[in-house]
C-alpha cells in the first residue's frame, strides 16, 4: 500500500493515475455509447423496451428497413451535396482570404483574427441570424440580390424545396470560412520565403509561383483542412435546427439531422441508431485521413 502511494506521488504511478482516470471517463462516456449504438442498431427498440438492456435482436432488419424507406436515398444525397458544397465554398473563399491577408500589411493579423468571431458564436445564434437574413419576403439577402439585378422575384429560401438545402449551405459556408482561412494562413506562413525569391529571379509569374510552390508546399495542410471540413460539416446540426428543421418535406434533411429526428421526434431509436452507425463509419474514415495528414506533426 505504501509503495503504491509512493509510486502515485513520485513514480510511474503518477503518470498512470493522471492518464487512466480521464481515459476511463472517455471510455465510459464515448466508447461505451459507441458500442451501445451498434448493439441498438441490431435490436428492436421502442418506447416500452427503452428501459431494459435485453431487447429482442432482429439482425439486419433495421438496416433493411432503412434502405427500403423512400426518403433514405434523397437524404443521403442531400448529405453528400451539403458536405461537398459546404467544403468547396468554405475552402475556396477561405483560401482566397488567406492569400489576401498573407500579403502582410499593417493590421492584417488583427483583422484576420476578427473573422474568427463566427467560430465562437453559438450555432443557434448563427442559425437565427441567417434564418432572418434568408427570410423570403423581408430578408435582406433577397433585397440585395434584387437590387443587384441577380434575381427578379423573391427566393423563398426556407420554404422552397429546391432552395432549402442551399439556405443551410450558405449559412454553413459563412460559419466555416473563418476556420479555413486561419488554418490556411498558418500553412502559408510555414512556406520559406526564399523559394518565392528564387522563383521570381527565374522569371516565374504569380500563377506559376502559386501552382508550383504554394499548392505543392501546402499539400498536407490542405489535406488536413479538407478532412477537418468534412468532420465539421458532418457535425453540423444547429443550423438545420435553426433554419429549416430538415423541411419542407425532407428537402433539406441530412443524415445527422435525420438520425436525431428519428430518435427524438418520432421515438424510433433503433432507426436513429442505425443511421448513426452508418454515418459514424464515414466520419471515422475522414478522421483517419485527417490523422494521417497531420501525422508528422503528431509524432513531432
Amino acid at each position: 500500500m505504501r509503495r503504491l502511494l509512493l509510486s502515485i506521488s513520485d513514480g510511474r504511478g503518477f503518470d498512470i493515475a493522471l492518464v487512466s482516470v480521464p481515459l476511463t471517463f472517455l471510455f465510459m462516456m464515448a466508447g461505451l455509447p459507441l458500442v451501445y449504438n451498434i448493439v441498438m442498431s441490431f435490436q428492436e427498440v421502442d418506447m416500452f423496451s427503452l428501459g431494459t438492456f435485453f431487447r429482442p435482436f432482429v439482425g439486419l432488419k433495421n438496416y433493411a428497413t432503412l434502405f427500403s424507406m423512400p426518403e433514405t436515398w434523397p437524404i443521403l444525397k442531400n448529405t453528400a451535396l451539403f458536405v461537398s458544397a459546404s467544403i468547396a465554398g468554405q475552402f475556396i473563399i477561405g483560401f482566397g482570404l488567406a492569400l489576401f491577408f498573407w500579403t502582410n500589411f499593417p493590421g492584417a493579423s488583427w483583422l484576420r483574427g476578427l473573422f474568427l468571431v463566427s467560430w465562437v458564436m453559438p450555432g443557434l445564434v448563427v442559425g437565427a441570424i441567417w434564418n432572418w437574413i434568408l427570410s423570403g419576403d423581408f430578408g435582406v439577402l433577397n433585397y440585395l440580390l434584387r437590387e443587384s439585378g441577380l434575381i427578379t422575384g423573391n427566393i423563398f429560401w426556407r420554404s422552397d424545396p429546391s432552395f432549402s438545402l442551399w439556405a443551410v449551405v450558405i449559412a454553413n459556408i459563412w460559419l466555416g470560412i473563418s476556420f479555413n482561412m486561419i488554418l490556411l494562413s498558418v500553412g502559408l506562413s510555414t512556406i520559406p520565403q526564399d523559394l518565392y525569391e528564387a522563383a521570381e529571379l527565374d522569371g516565374a509569374n504569380v500563377f506559376q509561383r502559386f501552382f508550383t510552390i504554394t499548392l505543392p508546399m501546402m499539400r498536407s495542410t490542405i489535406g488536413a483542412i479538407i478532412s477537418l471540413g468534412l468532420i465539421f460539416t458532418l457535425q453540423q446540426f444547429d443550423l438545420f435546427a435553426a433554419i429549416t428543421a430538415g423541411g419542407p418535406n425532407n428537402s433539406s434533411n441530412v443524415a445527422q439531422y435525420w438520425a436525431w429526428d428519428l430518435s427524438f421526434r418520432q421515438y424510433d431509436f433503433a432507426q436513429g441508431a442505425t443511421i448513426s452507425v452508418i454515418m459514424i463509419v464515414f466520419v471515422m474514415i475522414a478522421s483517419v485521413v485527417y490523422v494521417r495528414s497531420t501525422r508528422h506533426e503528431v509524432r513531432g
Binding site: S9, D10, D15, V19, P22, L23, F25, L26, M29, A30, G31, P33, L34, Y36, N37, G51, L97, F100, T103, F105, G107, G113, L114, F115, L116, V117, W119, V120, M121, P122, L124, V125, A128, I129, N131, W132, I133, S135, F138, V140, Y143, I182, V186, Q235, F237, D238, Q256, W260, S263, F264, F269, A273, S276, M279, I280, V283, M284, S287, V291, G300
Partner: protein, 275 residues
C-alpha cells in the same frame, strides 16, 4: 512611398472584406432595435431611425432570458471544470512521453473528437435514461459535453505542455521534489496561460451547446439559452426584432470575451487544430 500607398489600399480592402463578413452580426444588432414596422420595411433601412432600446428589457423579462443564461453558465462551467480537472493531467502525460502507447492514446482521443454529437446522442440518451441519470438533466448534459469536448482540450493543452522545457522539471526533481510536487509547483504554473485559454475556448463552445441540452432537458426551468432560442423561433414567427434582441443578449458576452482575448484565442486555436 508606393509601399505605403499599397499598404493603405490593402488595409481598406481588408476592412471592407471584414465588414461584409461581419454584416450578419451587424444585422442582428440593428434588427433588434428596429420597430415592428421598420423591420418589415421595403427597402430595408440599414440604419435604425428610431432605436427601440427598451426591447432588451421587455425581451429579458418576457422570455426569462436571465434564467436561460444562468442555466447556460451552470452547464458550461460544470463542463469546463470537469474537463480541466480530468484533461490537464492527461494532456501532461501525453506530452511527456513518446512511445507506441502514447501514439495509440492520442489516436483514440483524436477519433473521439470527431464523433458528431447529433449521432452520439441516441445511445447516450438511452443509456442515461436506463441508469436514471436523466432525472438530473443538467448533470447529464455536463457529463455528455465533458466527454465530447475533452479531446479538443487535451490536444490544445498538450501543445502547451510540450512548450514547457522538461529540464525545469528535471531540475526540480534533482532538488528533491516529488513528481507530484514538480507537477503542481513547476509545470502547472508555467502552463497556466495555455490551460486558461483552452478552458475559455471550451467554455464558449459549451455555452452555445444545443443538441445534448435539447434532447436531454425536458424541464423548461433547466434549459440553457440555446434551447430557449430554438423554442422562441417557431416555424412562422414574425417577431424578428425580439428574436434578434434575445440572440444579441446571448452572444454579446461571448463576443466581449473574444474581442478582449482575441490574439490568445486565435493562437490557441491554430496551435491545436493542426497538431
Amino acid at each position: 512611398m508606393s509601399f505605403a500607398l499599397r499598404d493603405k489600399v490593402m488595409l481598406v480592402i481588408a476592412v471592407l472584406l471584414a465588414a461584409v463578413y461581419l454584416f450578419p452580426l451587424y444585422w442582428m444588432y440593428v434588427t433588434a432595435i428596429k420597430t415592428g414596422s421598420a423591420m418589415f420595411a421595403s427597402p430595408p433601412s440599414f440604419w435604425p431611425a428610431d432605436p427601440q432600446w427598451s426591447i432588451y428589457r421587455s425581451v429579458w423579462e418576457s422570455r426569462n432570458v436571465g434564467r436561460y443564461l444562468w442555466n447556460s453558465v451552470v452547464i458550461a462551467s460544470g463542463a469546463v471544470l470537469m474537463i480541466a480537472i480530468l484533461g490537464t493531467g492527461c494532456a501532461y502525460v501525453l506530452a511527456r512521453y513518446r512511445n507506441a502507447w502514447v501514439d495509440a492514446g492520442l489516436f483514440l482521443i483524436l477519433m473521439l473528437q470527431v464523433l458528431p454529437a447529433s449521432l452520439m446522442i441516441t445511445p447516450i440518451f438511452v443509456g442515461f435514461s436506463q441508469i436514471g441519470l436523466l432525472d438530473y438533466p443538467r448533470t447529464a448534459v455536463i457529463l455528455a459535453i465533458a466527454a465530447k469536448s475533452m479531446p479538443f482540450f487535451v490536444v490544445l493543452v498538450r501543445a502547451t505542455f510540450m512548450s514547457v522545457p522538461i529540464e525545469l522539471e528535471e531540475a526540480a526533481l534533482v532538488d528533491g521534489n516529488s513528481r507530484f510536487g514538480a507537477f503542481f509547483h513547476i509545470v502547472l504554473p508555467l502552463a497556466r496561460n495555455g490551460i486558461l485559454v483552452s478552458a475559455i475556448l471550451i467554455f464558449m463552445q459549451a455555452f452555445g451547446e444545443f443538441v445534448y441540452s435539447k434532447s436531454m432537458i425536458q424541464a423548461i426551468e433547466y434549459q440553457p439559452a440555446s434551447v430557449g432560442l430554438n423554442s422562441f423561433m417557431g416555424p412562422n414567427t414574425n417577431e424578428w426584432n425580439n428574436i434578434m434582441a434575445y440572440a444579441a443578449m446571448y452572444v454579446t458576452p461571448i463576443l466581449a470575451i473574444f474581442v478582449l482575448l482575441q490574439r490568445r484565442i486565435v493562437s490557441g486555436l491554430t496551435s491545436g487544430a493542426l497538431k
